[in-house]
Symmetry: C2
């Protein structure tokens, strides 16, 4: 339908950040804020803030700005954070366990209900009161329990099969920490957290900055820029 224009991914990715800043303002008992002020805090142009928000409706008032509590709550609703979500963790290794122990998710309505693993050493144990099951029990579990999001914290080699099974058994959201890109049906949504990729990006930027400084040094010395490496060197 035309009346419901598609929101761009760039905007969606900024929403949680708006939500976070508005939450902070709320805690500081600030009741109103203009796009200009928020702009200064967030290092985004005021124009972009207004345009982003206007994708979802006119939440502000001329001459006043935005009411912090109201806007915070609206974004909460836009993000769908006004209800609980059931999650399971598949892969009870380091990262899986860390996520189970990270209690802040629960405070925001993301509730981890079960963990699945293949390691007999941990199956049957509980982590923060949450039971660890054998992956073989997953199908049955999913028949009897609604799961909104599966958190995939398992090795590359096993992620594809598990994702496939989960999709088959009706899980529509996957938060993927495995270092592979999952191939799933169109109606299943995957959000990747590729930690190694993120770290590599950081490393690139660090090196880039270092290299740039080098070039500046060359310039200030009047020395020529060193030639680029050629294919075949």
């Amino acid at each position: 339908m035309d009346s419901e224009k598609k929101i761009s991914p760039a905007v969606i990715n900024r929403l949680p950040r708006y939500y976070r800043y508005l939450g902070d303002l709320l805690e500081s008992d600030i009741t109103r804020i203009s796009s200009k002020e928020l702009s200064a805090k967030m290092n985004i142009t005021a124009s972009q803030i207004r345009q982003d928000l206007n994708n979802f409706g006119g939440f502000g008032q001329q001459g006043y700005g935005y009411n912090v509590e109201y806007l915070h709550n609206e974004i909460k609703k836009i993000l769908g954070l006004d209800r609980l979500y059931n999650m399971i963790v598949v892969g009870g290794g380091n990262i899986g366990q860390a996520l189970v122990n990270y209690t802040n998710f629960e405070k925001r309505g993301f509730v981890i209900k079960a963990v699945f693993d293949i390691n007999p050493r941990i199956i049957g144990m509980t982590i923060r009161g949450i039971e660890v099951y054998d992956v073989d029990q997953m199908e049955e579990y999913l028949k009897n329990n609604i799961v909104d999001v599966a958190i995939l914290t398992l090795p590359r080699s096993k992620a594809a099969k598990v994702a496939n099974d989960l999709a088959k058994w009706g899980v529509k959201g996957m938060w993927n920490f495995s270092h592979v890109d999952l191939q799933v049906p169109d109606d299943v949504l995957v959000e990747n957290v590729h930690l190694t990729d993120s770290l590599m990006t950081l490393i690139y930027k660090i090196n880039e900055m270092y290299t740039e400084e080098n070039e500046l040094n060359h310039l200030s010395n009047g020395l020529p820029i060193k030639p680029k490496l050629e294919v075949g060197d």
Copy 2:
């Protein structure tokens, strides 16, 4: 300088993914690949692959494609992965410990050398052989050891001060898992991993898909779209 054109962030963020796919191809003993073939595997247009790679040089050959091993190695060099990086973890909680225990980083040249925390219960202990120090010892540690990247896995409330200290003491790269945006000098690079933001984005997309289906139902029922909420309601 003009000769060194700026590479766009979008391209840089894709590099680790190229690197990963090329690594996979290498393991499958595939020696050459065309942009078209890679395009199919990665769900990126061939055009974009060629343009991305050409930012860094002409690595391919007409009529042949790209040599997998050669290209893999070139990207490795571009990303700066041909040397070791020393890292420290600041914050020995769940996520900090999980990252220390995640041995894959080390395989790629990212070596965690020390952990810092304020909790007396864990100070003095070791995690996978890596010592946990008091944060008060951080300044001295940084005087005596080169640290490329600090991994920040500590509570919001403490992240800002620590980041400030680290910057003051010469750490140029920060991999930030704290749920705040750090304010650091221009020569310090921060890569954020905001897990909660990522999860919220996933939740939004799940709901969006669900809502879209709803709208289709509305349409098929001939029902009007519900009016938007107004400020003040």
